[in-house]
Symmetry: C2
Subunit: 199 residues, 2 copies
């Protein structure tokens, strides 16, 4: 049984995630989460000043653990060419989002709602992901797989934006169509041609 | 004063558009539109069987007149190179959507809602726009501005998808940021490099 002394941020987020998956993001209240932790509502508010703060913290942790970290593992594999690594990176991002929308719908709905509010945590998450793309672009420039004149950080944002239809939560309803993989395949060929040429 | 004999589809859509702009898409009822036309509610239902059908018809006309037709005019100007024409076409599409979201918010909100419902009219509209891109891609292949191996219809969809962040209504909140034009500029350079190369 938890009490205020041992109530860590991680324990709160674990409980919040569990309760959220049970009731859904709209129906979950701070009181529900406090009950799951067997602490008072006031105790919980001392750690998170609002339901919004709690929702954002749960989403932030999910984005870090379920999106940014698995993608970062692809960057750390040095053995593949940068173009192959970027292809794998984008396919993995797309698959993580699609899988979450189908298999973890409550968390995905909360992430989609937090994204609509355009909070700082989403901006930071996007900075982190485009930073990963930038590493691959620079690696590919060194290896000769990519040739480009634009600053790598801007080009990384262009690659991320260009693929938004396949990973931004507003488009989730479009991900289950039969042609989604084929469409991404065409887009990837176009982007790869652009990255491999010199303009 | 309208009566059933002279009630044309265009007259209904004109009235519906006017009422919609006054009350907004959520608060507008079929009864409001019937009142504006000075016909009975039943008379209006004989022409449009539901509020949904009326909303879709107003949106369809708006997409045709305010989006597809001005873009088609760019295609018909034969004097520019295909790459310049495609750049102008995309910038015009982006500007039409941004302007509507700012200056015609009720119509834009209805279009955004109809888009979420993924109706057949949106699919037809996208077919029409990607058909226009296809014409430019084929023209550019003939002139040498573009080199590509993919079927032009698939590549046209890839170009449309790649720019979705700048014209799909789900992203409207992102269009007013200072960096939106610069971001599109980077993306366009990448796409142009891809279209001008041979993969």
């Amino acid at each position: 049984m938890a009490n205020d002394q041992v109530l860590t941020k991680e324990a709160i987020l674990d409980a919040a995630e569990q309760v959220l998956r049970r009731y859904g993001p709209d129906k979950t209240s701070v009181v529900d989460i406090a009950k799951a932790l067997q602490v008072s509502h006031g105790t919980l508010y001392r750690h998170f000043p609002s339901k919004t703060a709690l929702r954002e913290a749960v989403t932030e942790r999910w984005l870090q653990q379920s999106v940014a970290e698995p993608l970062s593992a692809i960057i750390e594999k040095q053995h593949s060419d940068a173009d192959e690594a970027l292809h794998m990176w984008l396919k993995t991002l797309i698959e993580i989002k699609r899988s979450a929308s189908l298999n973890d719908p409550e968390m995905f709905a909360m992430y989609a709602a937090v994204t609509l509010d355009a909070t700082a945590i989403i901006a930071e998450h996007i900075d982190s992901l485009t930073g990963q793309i930038e590493v691959l672009l620079e690696r590919g420039k060194v290896s000769g797989a990519f040739r480009y004149d634009q600053p790598a950080d801007r080009l990384a944002r262009a690659v991320f934006s260009a693929t938004a239809k396949f990973h931004h939560p507003a488009h989730a309803a479009e991900w289950t169509g039969e042609s989604a993989d084929e469409e991404f395949g065409s887009l990837w060929k176009l982007l790869l041609s652009g990255l491999a040429s010199s303009k």
